[in-house]
């Protein structure tokens, strides 16, 4: 066991736990954001650098601070380690820098992006980003491609988190897509379009933190905040069959895996990650296919979820009051 202090909160965690996992055990503000780390995927994390934290004391044995900020998702805790996340202003500035880097080549096409509303990058930008960009050059663009029958890849939006690559490696029976080229023109791609053909390939959509991989059966059907999430299950021979249905009235618009507060798939009761198969995801779009368990609990801190925005007193008088201030006689006159 190792005792670690993050932003003044002390917790005792098993050896080998990463700083990020320890922070998630504490919960709340202490948790650094993570764009590429996915606890259900081995070797994920370390790429996006948003989860950087400052280690002010290495361990009880070696109390020297670490010279550089470290990726909390890939750094195991040491006994006596002291970590700063929200409490270090220089670190928050560094994180804002990372967010800026992630956004300079992002198209910022949220108004037409299917991921808007449940996008990790959107949340991250709201919390850590600048209100305007300092990047004045043309942004990198790619052609949209269909990497499988049901999956659309819009590489322009991708932040190269490698999560979908890890899904293909660890959940499906063979990876046919990967990263081509290098530097700022590297892209996720397949050599042959439509090549992704696997029963669990749909999980790539669920792990994608941005709108780079989207469900072709749901694209442009509805904004996510206009459909209601409902927990449901079915007896599926290939997967757990525990899903979230996104419904409008009695119509099922899309099916996804159930997710936790960090937008990762929830574990099934037997402790396995609740990945779902493509049959459940793409082909069972009728209410009769499912047994509904009840409304889903959405406790993500997404920009669309409730209580994220605090309603503020507007600086100017609202228009409504202005209308009321107009003499009644004038209103009556106009009505005529």
């Amino acid at each position: 066991m190792a005792k670690v202090t993050i932003d003044g909160h002390m917790i005792e965690v098993p050896d080998g736990t990463t700083i990020l996992q320890a922070a998630r055990m504490i919960g709340g503000d202490v948790v650094p954001p993570a764009m590429c780390y996915y606890s259900k995927l081995k070797t994920s994390g370390g790429y996006c650098r948003t989860c950087l934290v400052k280690v002010t004391k290495g361990s009880e044995k070696d109390p020297r601070p670490m010279p550089k900020p470290v990726a909390s998702c890939r750094t195991p805790v040491m006994d006596g380690m002291e970590v700063q996340n929200k409490t270090a202003p220089d670190l928050l500035e560094a994180r804002a820098g990372v967010v800026e880097f992630l956004l300079i080549n992002h198209p910022l096409d949220c108004p037409i992006c299917d991921q808007a509303g449940e996008c990790s990058l959107q949340d991250l930008a709201y919390e850590h980003g600048l209100s305007r960009t300092r990047y004045e050059f043309s942004r990198r663009t790619f052609q949209k491609i269909d990497i499988g029958e049901k999956i659309k890849l819009h590489m322009t939006r991708c932040i190269l988190c490698y999560r979908c690559v890890k899904v293909a490696e660890q959940i499906t029976d063979g990876r046919v897509h990967g990263v081509l080229n290098r530097g700022d023109v590297s892209e996720i791609s397949t050599y042959i379009s439509q090549a992704v053909d696997n029963d669990f390939s749909g999980n790539m959509i669920d792990v994608c933190p941005v709108g780079a991989l989207t469900d072709r059966t749901f694209r442009f059907k509805s904004r996510v905040w206009n459909v209601n999430p409902v927990d449901a299950h079915r007896d599926c021979p290939t997967c757990s069959g525990r899903v979230m249905l996104w419904m409008k009235g009695a119509e099922v618009f899309r099916v996804t895996a159930r997710k936790d507060e960090y937008a990762e798939v929830l574990d099934t009761p037997d402790g396995k990650p609740g990945w779902i198969c493509n049959t459940c995801r793409f082909d069972k779009k009728e209410t009769k296919d499912w047994i509904v368990d009840g409304p889903s609990k959405i406790d993500r801190h997404s920009v669309i979820s409730q209580n994220h925005y605090v309603l503020q007193e507007p600086a100017h008088k609202p228009l409504l009051n202005a209308v009321q201030a107009v003499p009644t006689s004038w209103q009556l006159e106009n009505k005529k």
Binding site: R49, K68, G97, F101, L102, I104, L160, G183, D184
Partner: protein, 447 residues
């Protein structure tokens, strides 16, 4: 000039061939190590010698070797990093081209010390002809019993392979090199675990630069103490310096660490002064990634002491007034050189070579290049300088591997020491075409 250790046989005709090399005392270190020394004794000699990694970071080699995990029943590897791609550095190529057997000999002795039975030389893709030279040398070594099973009748066996890279600068980073050697995409790994614990194929691995491995030969032959007598302070031994730029005699020089920089640039034994009698403006002292220094700061430290060619002296004053010895790529610039253009060229290189794995380097290097390009195009604004400064600060230290730092440091140093030149370019775009004119215009002294 001190005694040459690595390039002492450089002048001998036909030294590339095994027979000539052997006649001139070649492979003596293997004989000495395998027949008379234990593996620990060899490591001890290297520790005593104070040899530091010649690839750029300058980490003590003996210490690196002693960190190598030695779990029983698991193979250990020695990998030679011959992916020399830092702009301005060409010492390893020279060494491998001229005296290939020195590297092979060093590899055998070092592998023996580390207990590695399989070793690799990972060579840069552009050096394919050097790889042929090395392969020929390895064949000769096999034919004469220096490689293969039971070397010199001992228990020790070693197989040595040359692997050619595919032309990526990033594969000179040790973990990216190992990934590439394993046949994967050359992306740096996230550390820990370090290669000394889990490197090539998950086994304990030591990755050393060509020059480091070659230096093991004189260390074993003459003893670590003898080697440590050369040099100054913690910078022991000799170092190959690839001198290039506006000097009279560019080339590879073997110097004793501790030679004054002034002597190195102006002495006829080394660079022979600035070409065409021009004024001396600046130096990039250790390959493109180390901070550039203006003439006055490279010749003398901020405290006024003469600067020496050693790890400590060049780093004196930190990055504010100092630089690094790095890989020994010594680029000299005269008064006609545009620092902004030079910086753009370096930044373009790092943009092109970024692997794209982590975001600050992937996005930041391209952004810096575009801004510098804009300044050179005559469309820069004053705020661009601050923006560049801000971007480099947000890349440095935030990335997985040191490529991010390597891309950030030159930008920071150029702005730190030559800010007025950036401002001049922005104010007066025409001056871009004529740097000399700018100096005359402003009555500036470049050296």
């Amino acid at each position: 000039m001190g005694k040459k250790l690595l390039l002492k046989d450089d002048h001998i005709a036909g030294i590339q061939s095994y027979d000539v090399y052997r006649k001139n005392g070649g492979y003596a270190s293997v004989e000495k190590a395998v027949k008379t020394m234990t593996t620990e004794a060899v490591v001890e000699e290297v520790k005593k010698s104070g040899l530091r990694g010649r690839g750029g970071a300058g980490f003590p080699t003996g210490m690196k070797w002693s960190f190598l995990a030695k779990p029983p029943g698991i193979a250990r590897y020695l990998v030679c990093n011959a992916d020399e791609s830092e702009p301005g550095t060409f010492k390893d190529r020279y060494l491998m081209e001229r005296i290939p057997h020195l590297l092979i000999e060093g590899m055998i002795t070092s592998s023996y010390a580390l207990g590695a039975n399989t070793s690799y030389i990972y060579i840069r893709g552009e050096y394919y002809y050097v790889a042929r030279i090395l392969e020929k040398a390895i064949d000769e070594a096999y034919a004469n019993g220096w490689l293969g099973k039971n070397i010199l009748g001992s228990e020790y066996s070693l197989d040595l392979y040359v692997q050619i890279g595919a032309g990526a600068y990033i594969c000179g980073e040790e973990t990216a090199l190992l990934e590439s050697l394993e046949g994967k995409r050359g992306n740096p790994r996230i550390k820990p675990p370090f290669p000394a614990v889990a490197g090539l194929y998950g086994c304990p691995t030591v990755v050393n630069n060509v020059e480091t491995i070659a230096a093991v030969v004189p260390i074993v032959n003459d003893g670590g103490d003898e080697y440590a007598k050369i040099g100054i302070g913690k910078s022991t031994g000799t170092k190959l310096i690839s001198a290039s730029g506006h000097i009279n005699k560019p080339g590879v020089y073997e110097i004793d660490l501790g030679v004054p920089v002034e002597e190195f640039i102006f002495s006829d034994k080394y660079c022979g002064g600035i070409r065409g009698g021009k004024k001396f403006k600046a130096v990039v002292a250790g390959g493109s990634s180390v901070p550039i220094l203006p003439a006055d700061l490279i010749l003398k430290t901020a405290k006024g002491e003469p600067r020496l060619m050693s790890y400590e002296s060049l780093a004196d004053g930190g990055f504010a007034t100092g630089t690094m010895l790095g890989s020994g790529g010594f680029i000299v610039m005269d008064e006609d050189t545009s620092i902004v253009k030079n910086l753009w060229n370096f930044t373009r290189f790092y943009h092109h070579e970024s692997c794209g794995q982590c975001s600050p380097c992937r996005e930041g290097t391209g952004w810096m290049e575009k801004i510098l390009h804009r300044i050179l195009d005559g469309h820069g604004t004053m705020s661009d300088i601050d923006l560049l400064w801000d971007i480099q600060g947000k890349i440095e230290g935030k990335t997985i591997c040191p490529l991010g730092d390597a891309a950030a440091w030159p930008v920071a140093a150029a702005i730190r020491h030559f800010r007025s030149e950036f401002e001049e370019y922005i104010k007066n775009p025409k001056s871009i075409k004529d740097v000399k004119h700018y100096y005359r215009l402003n009555n500036l002294q470049s050296a």
